[in-house]
């Protein structure tokens, strides 16, 4: 388990790849693959900056484990009706904040552009991922992800994961 004791020297570069794999999964709308990025006991929350800065726990999406992520995917596929759209993520500023035993606190900016079939592309969501990521021999897994958006309101109902 040496990898758990000494983080890889190219940790930041590998995390950048991991973030890009994550958003690729969402951009391709491969929702069933999305929970695999998380640990079983994960925390996943989409939250306004206002609430985050005030230390309030409320989020517009809040999942306390991987099964809740899977339920969300099922709901999206089976019951939610929504207009077709393309979402495209742009990630920048991947940073390692702290490294502990087998875990890394990391952060990155995201920009999501939404294109619908009858209007020009717009900024759907902008903000940052605030993450705790487990470094295992299988690669990275997200133990905790807060998607903290800067938007003062979410224009359309937030349909897909961030």
């Amino acid at each position: 388990m040496s990898i758990l004791e000494s983080p890889p020297p190219d940790l930041r570069a590998r995390l950048r790849d991991f973030y890009e794999d994550y958003v690729f999964c969402l951009d391709e709308f491969r929702l069933e693959d999305w929970p695999a990025f998380f640990t079983e006991d994960c925390h996943y929350r989409v939250q306004s900056r206002e609430n985050h800065d005030a230390g309030l726990p409320v989020g517009i999406i809040h999942c306390m484990n991987k099964n809740m992520l899977k339920d969300r995917v099922t709901a999206l596929r089976k019951t939610t009706v929504f207009q077709p759209r393309s979402l495209r993520h742009f990630v920048s500023g991947v940073r390692v904040q702290e490294v502990r035993d087998g875990e890394v606190d990391a952060q990155a900016n995201f920009l999501i552009i939404e294109s619908m079939s009858d209007q020009n592309p717009v900024i759907s969501l902008v903000g940052r991922y605030i993450d705790r990521i487990v470094i295992s021999e299988d690669g990275f897994k997200i133990k905790s992800r807060d998607c903290v958006y800067d938007n003062y309101q979410i224009l359309t109902s937030l349909i897909t994961p961030v």
Copy 2:
């Protein structure tokens, strides 16, 4: 030709550099340097997501070899009249999809911001590059590039390469 048999270990990082060199060339409007990113027998197409997903071949730009790229540059420089503007590309999510003998299938998201002399910057085009890239001893060359955009329509005539 060992490089053709075993792809470099830092392939993804090197591809990221290559994508950024490509868009730098376009942002600087160095159009004459643009065809050099491609092989002689290249395919280059700019296509809507709608057509791409339906498997339709139609694109708003379609070049079947490097000479057609050069012709396009000549046309742009000599005959096309258009209002001055700044285009700036943002590339994210560079991914290696598959590696074969001396070739790599890769993909990346692009966001092009257009600034004209009398209005605020707008999202000009958003989408992804879907590429087949040849790994040679001279570096990378694009054998096939589909620029698949999410926009439902192209507002201004698409003047410069994507």
Copy 3:
């Protein structure tokens, strides 16, 4: 001082990290940490593309040394009144233009998204950093930075550093 004679082989990757640390500092509004990215005798300017292309020296912000950067931070903290907002930077296209003795000329694209408390996020500023960066044993320091924006006008008064 061998590092001054032979630039590190992963220079571009390390510069990308440096650019992302820089914009993280600004996105987090850690203004007091911002001058530390610069040398004592630095040049820092925010300038329109129009003026830059015409070779005109005029910029909307122009600092000739690190003390002027610090003064600017003090002014921002103590005297300037402005509406709260989130700024988020996206950096792409980091490139090494030239390497000389212990210095590197580098460039990158920036996109700044502004979110205010009563409107949707908008493109605040888009353009490129044109830099001379000193490579020292302590890491990188910016000796000269021109922030050349494509916007034809700055909508709101430019409050924070770019």
